[in-house]
Symmetry: C2
Subunit: 405 residues, 2 copies
Amino acid sequence: MTSLDEKFRTLATDNAPGQEVRHPGDDIDALVIGEILSGAPVDFSHGDVDAFEPSPGSFDCFAQGVQIGGKRAYTEYRGDAGIREALAVRLARFTGAPVAGTDDLIITPGSQGALFLALASTISAGDKVAIVRPDYFANRKLVQFLDGEIVPVRMDYHATNDSAGLDLGELEDAFRAGVKVFVFSNPNNPAGVVYSRTEIDHISRLAGRYGVTVIVDQLYSRLVYSGTTYTHLRAVEGSAHNIITIMGPSKTESLSGYRLGVAFGSPAIITRMEKLQAIVSLRAAGYSQSVLQTWLAEPDGWMEERIRRHQAIRDELHSMLTAVAGVAARLPQAGSYLFARLPALAVSPHDFVRILRYQAKVIVTPGTEFSPDAGNSVRLNFSQDHHAAVNAVGRMMALIERYRV
Amino acid sequence: MTSLDEKFRTLATDNAPGQEVRHPGDDIDALVIGEILSGAPVDFSHGDVDAFEPSPGSFDCFAQGVQIGGKRAYTEYRGDAGIREALAVRLARFTGAPVAGTDDLIITPGSQGALFLALASTISAGDKVAIVRPDYFANRKLVQFLDGEIVPVRMDYHATNDSAGLDLGELEDAFRAGVKVFVFSNPNNPAGVVYSRTEIDHISRLAGRYGVTVIVDQLYSRLVYSGTTYTHLRAVEGSAHNIITIMGPSKTESLSGYRLGVAFGSPAIITRMEKLQAIVSLRAAGYSQSVLQTWLAEPDGWMEERIRRHQAIRDELHSMLTAVAGVAARLPQAGSYLFARLPALAVSPHDFVRILRYQAKVIVTPGTEFSPDAGNSVRLNFSQDHHAAVNAVGRMMALIERYRV
């Protein structure tokens, strides 16, 4: 079983959000300095869906789905036709390019399900796949699971404020070297930066020229802060046909618990994704898909208010952290991730993450999950109770000082 | 993309339950004889969850899960620890062998999710996998997706009434030839037969002797009819450690719409399955996992009543069908599948299935989905409204006579 053993070693979830509970303290006592800091625990590894109300009517829609019963439980594998048709109209409006509900859209178990299905439908063993560094850890792990070959592309998110900082030369080199699929998140997870119009245009042109399939994870593309222009790749003029866009109601809407995602774009790829869904999870998310009826259809002003509250947390945490000597972080342009580079510490960044959890009851995600070059950074999901998050970052700052070299 | 194209061609879902809506009538008019038969449409391709009430309290449990919020949405990838612990006790009682909630159990999106995760965690490209003919179509398709090599093992379910009819000699030949994983459903889907104690003992011994991992899909093992003894492979003395058992609340409990499954057994394999779940669907079924609190914990007599009602439908449909000259079918011992061999007809079995849908509003699943040798059989899921099912089978009988050679 060597080969499978190796593969699953690369799929380690030890540092993944939510898995901390499976790893007891071990040797932490030998590392710590000073006392435990008191305060409400904050888990920045994912958003706190209790901090924000779910979008209005979501539970009622679910309850109606249960009442509908069999017709909602046993839909086409890609999801209920009526829900798809109505949602397609709203997705077309949101992204600025047509979506045909019949053929261009699939409902999946979470946006993670969509990401897996999209990659598994476009990658064979040995295929080259361009992956941004840093980017969402599952991108890399999925390519490893599918026996693809990762071609890293650098994103220098600290170098600029006008773009994400993707190295477009390196991207073209990768495409020229035979990359078949390019997968990336926009806004970038973990850095919270948004690709500029110029970057998206460039990606679109290159994909067309080299025949590369592009999978763009736009999970957080609704949560865009003031002053930022968001460009939907699929709406760029002359964009290649082989584009799959992934979204879903999630932390932004406090609906993660319903486990819903959607993918839309190339009907040929969507058809493959449905065939695969039939054997990996059978059907769209059953009764839960009913909740999509509220999505992108919230009351006027609802989303604006949600953005405003997140922006307030973002601003306060960002200014707290960047006031610490040696800490660097871009101001997130969208989504709820803040990626902070730590100063030199007397313990390894990995141990500092463990110490944070143990001494401050603050959980963050180590940067190595996103890039081998981001070992001294940590990711915070700031979709949290504002007050608790500020206190938690205060404790984190205190521990940075305590462990500073 | 040739290789992926080929792979996805083998994953065709054209004849899969629920997908009929994607295939319009085509050339059906040239085939049909006589008039359309009137009557309520019945979709035997899957159970009708509206025909039987969901188990008591299931919706309330879901609603409580939503109230719990973040702690229920963001559990360990393998599912909420409390739900797992409590369920493990009931699964141990049900199957007759210990289950440790901490390490031996994972909650998945549907039992289909469990099947995929189990196979993807144990099969590498080129590995030999023993598959029973006939058996659930996803077993075969999953092995194809994972680039495994299928080694078919014959089950002569018509030859006996005392066992499933598995060819144990052929199974040992397959194991001797290097099979790494054996996956099978018990009760068998589509034939509705239950493996005898002797067969299960034999499978257990052979798996131990040849070091084969066994994945047993026991989805319908609760719905066992009078006179049948059900043997849980995992409880057989001396059973190998590499066993994964798959179950879930589904049509039996009218809970399919919550998309829940569980897998339990070898902690090493469960750990791999969790790592994989983290990248293919992220987490256990979110709020839905709350519904597991009602499962295997129904009020006294509830399951017995559900079995009694299914047994009544089974008995009536089976005697109707087997009274037709040339039709053969084993009396299902468990589950809700009835697999009927048709007499010689003037149209191909595939066209007869289309004609049934068009002229009788009766949907059945063609036997070729389960075995290349079962082309003249069709599968009926008889978990339906009793009255509607009897009428639908009446129409099917009329069309058999109409198209008989």
